[in-house]
């Protein structure tokens, strides 16, 4: 879309509209800079690789501090 952002890590907005956290089934926040989808309810951050969200608990970063 926009030619200056890395095309590799931008997620299709239509996909973002429908995705939920696979653990909590709660909503997700898109952190564009970190290239992560954040589930506040499950305290997990799902990575995005090659524009594809990796919606696997085992691959997610834990947010509990």
């Amino acid at each position: 879309m926009s030619d200056h952002t890395a095309p590799d890590n931008s997620v299709d907005p239509k996909l973002l509209e429908i995705l939920v956290c696979p653990v909590s089934r709660g909503p997700l926040r898109y952190d564009r800079n970190a290239a992560e989808l954040i589930s506040d309810k499950a305290k997990l951050a799902y990575p995005i690789r090659d524009g594809m969200p990796i919606m696997l608990e085992a691959e997610a970063r834990r947010l509990d501090d």
Partner: protein, 260 residues
């Protein structure tokens, strides 16, 4: 969670701790991703294309439908679905759309560079996800497909329940999977071929005999047509039926989510 270490799951002919199966299957598909389409053609003499085409015939894709193609890999079924839907008049309906959802990132990445996916860039999306815990709300899709994927899932019954959950009421479940040859004579020929020729093809084409040995063994561990039909019914689907393809080498199971 407490049972993960003691429960067993099949991995080819071995039994492995249930918690390890997903990682082992991912390793197989990471290993075969780049050669997967070529290998499928070589192993089945191109027949997997005919089977997928039969699946699409039965689905009769329409504009406006939203598909989830689980274990969709490089996107054969999703792209075929979108092609067929696009060939039909819109009549005020939106374009059909499809999500490929696969546990393996490498397979989907390989699919992104397919030329035949390009016309559908605006309606085809891809996400990594586990068939047992799909990252979608209830009642999201009109059609669920899983082609040569369900036997690789650790807990098949959990995956079937997830399929039911994400389908809209009136939505359709379709599963294409290797099955059991329906005559004894044919079964013997097929056994000889699959245990001798396929691992050898894997070695020749993909330099990976072990992964293809796993594929052959996992096919034998999968329940036969009638038993699998009952598992689909147990997950809540109605009017479940199956159709044998190529004498039962593969079977196409289908069911409906009704009565919600």
């Amino acid at each position: 969670m407490t049972n993960t270490d003691t429960q067993k799951a099949s991995f080819g002919f071995q039994d492995v701790p249930a918690g390890e199966k997903a990682g082992m299957v991912r390793a197989v598909f990471d290993s075969v991703a780049d050669n997967y389409d070529v290998m499928n053609d070589a192993m089945s003499a191109g027949i997997h294309r005919v089977w997928k085409s039969v699946l699409l015939d039965r689905l009769n894709p329409q504009p406006g439908q939203r598909l989830i193609d689980v274990a969709g890999g490089t996107g054969d079924i999703a792209i075929g679905f979108l092609k067929r839907a696009a060939a039909r008049p819109l009549r005020g309906r939106a374009e059909a759309s499809a999500v490929v959802c696969d546990i393996n990132h490498a397979m989907m990445k390989a699919g992104k560079s397919r030329d035949d996916a390009k016309p559908f860039a605006s309606v085809l999306t891809r996400t990594c996800g586990d068939a047992q815990n799909l990252p979608f709300p209830d009642c999201s899709f009109d059609v669920y497909t899983i082609g040569f994927g369900i036997r690789n899932v650790t807990d098949m019954d959990a995956a079937l329940k997830e399929a039911w959950r994400v389908l809209k009421p009136g939505g359709r479940f379709t599963c294409l999977e290797f099955s059991r040859p329906i005559t004894e004579g044919f079964s013997q020929v097929y056994d000889a071929y699959s245990f001798n020729v396929i691992p050898w093809l894997g070695e020749m084409i993909a330099k990976d005999r072990d992964s293809y040995q796993y594929l052959v063994e996992s096919i034998r561990r999968f329940p036969p047509q009638g038993a699998f039909k009952m598992r689909i019914e147990d997950a809540g689907f109605s009017r479940v039926s199956y159709e044998n393809l190529s004498g039962g080498i593969a079977a196409l199971h289908t069911g409906w989510k009704t009565g919600v």
